[in-house]
């Protein structure tokens, strides 16, 4: 009961903060749209080519858009001391950290999912692949947030943590990218996609159960 209140308080606080800092809320969204729209400008507007590369482009753009604001997950809290307060709470730090990851996903991942159909239309993605694209984004972006949070927790006390964070996270993001973009690709070609979707779902369940503990442990290491 008390733990639930603490979880909601943390979630509510972070969402409220994100709404008060609207500029940062728009940042990943603008980035996602910009990356995805630059490709047709550079490669030419032939529908056949765009249709072929659309799943990959949308997913690479979504991945980079997720990476961009990742550092904001714990760094502001580290700087203003609220991260110390979170770790000194009698509630489990893993649950409070999960609340922060959920808030971060709701404010950075969900807007990207909502914008994705428009980008898919723009890149001539076949209509029958759109539900699969949305399903992979709905399963994949929280996965990116959970994995990313471990990396941020490890690098939060470093002054130049940004480049290191990208280096640390990109290899871990590769499996998500392969299965997600692969699933959309198969859907566009008219093949069954249950396999990669189930695999993404399994990875999300695994990350949901294990990542919060890894995040809490990493934060303790970073703060000591």
């Amino acid at each position: 009961m008390r733990l639930g209140q603490a979880f909601c308080a943390m979630l509510g606080r972070d969402i409220r903060l994100a709404i008060r800092q609207r500029g940062e809320l728009a940042q990943p969204l603008v980035f996602f749209a910009a990356v995805a729209t630059l490709f047709p400008l550079a490669l030419g507007p032939e529908p056949a080519l765009l249709e072929r590369i659309a799943p990959g482009i949308i997913w690479v753009a979504a991945l980079l858009a997720a990476l961009l604001p990742m550092d904001r997950m714990f760094r502001p809290d580290y700087e203003d001391g609220t991260l110390e307060q979170m770790l000194l709470s009698p509630h489990p730090a893993s649950v409070l950290a999960l609340a922060k990851v959920v808030a971060h996903w709701l404010t950075t991942g969900v807007p990207v999912i909502l914008l994705a159909p428009l980008i898919a239309l723009f890149l001539q993605l076949p209509m029958e692949a759109l539900p699969v694209l949305l399903a992979t984004l709905a399963l994949g972006t929280p996965l990116l947030s959970l994995i990313g949070a471990i990396g941020v927790a490890l690098t939060v006390s470093l002054r130049a943590g940004g480049p290191l964070l990208a280096l640390l996270l990109l290899p871990l993001y590769v499996p998500v990218l392969i299965f997600a973009a692969g699933a959309v690709d198969r859907a566009a070609a008219g093949f069954p996609v249950a396999g990669p979707i189930y695999l993404l779902a399994a990875m999300l369940v695994l990350a949901l159960t294990l990542a919060p503990m890894a995040i809490a442990a990493s934060l303790r290491i970073s703060l000591s």
Partner: protein
């Protein structure tokens, strides 16, 4: 230890209900490190911390539930109002509020400012907003790291009264500061580091 440097060794003290211990020492003498080590944020190279006679790590939940730590940086969000910050702090404890938020803001001198975002307040007022947490969730043990930073003469009096009241009610306070504090009638002990 900090960055492989030994800051202090062979230091020992016991804090009993109603007790105040004031840590003194020049910059870099390890006051903050000692406070962080006691609450578990920094590792202890040798030695131990006990809570109610039991090693801290065995009763960590009870210890954390009894602890309020106000660090160097106040631990409040600058984009939120004092009221919102206080509500989050309270939700992170396991306590029922000891007094309404408005009473607490009156006592720390923030009346009328409870709904102004902290970024529009002065450094001293941000400090006061952080101190309001001590009133609303008065856990038995307070660890305060340089709480006088940015506080004016009136803020200092508010803090001294807060400390005296908490000690009189049986609370325990460990406070680091290099400003003189007027705690004459509370029987505060002083420990000097770095000599």
């Amino acid at each position: 230890m900090r960055d492989d440097r030994v800051l202090f060794e062979a230091i020992g003290f016991t804090l009993t209900p109603g007790g105040i211990i004031q840590l003194e020492g020049p910059n870099g003498s390890g006051k903050t490190t000692l406070l962080r080590a006691i609450c578990g944020l920094a590792p202890i190279e040798g030695g131990h911390v006990s809570w109610c006679g039991t090693p801290r790590d065995e009763v960590l939940d009870e210890f954390l539930a009894a602890l309020t730590y106000v660090g160097h940086v106040p631990g409040v969000k600058r984009d939120l109002t004092p009221r919102e910050n206080l509500a989050t702090s309270l939700a992170l404890t396991t306590m029922e509020p000891a007094m309404p938020a408005d009473t607490a803001f009156d006592r720390v001198g923030l009346d009328g400012l409870a709904d102004t975002p902290l970024r529009r307040l002065s450094a001293g007022q941000v400090r006061r907003a952080a101190l309001a947490r001590l009133l609303v969730a008065p856990t038995p043990l307070w660890l305060l790291d340089e709480p006088l930073t940015a506080l004016d003469a009136d803020g200092k009096r508010v803090l001294e009264r807060l400390l005296a009241d908490h000690a009189a009610a049986g609370g325990m306070i460990l406070i680091s500061t290099h400003h003189p504090l007027d705690l004459a009638d509370t029987g505060a002990q002083r420990i000097r580091l770095g000599d």
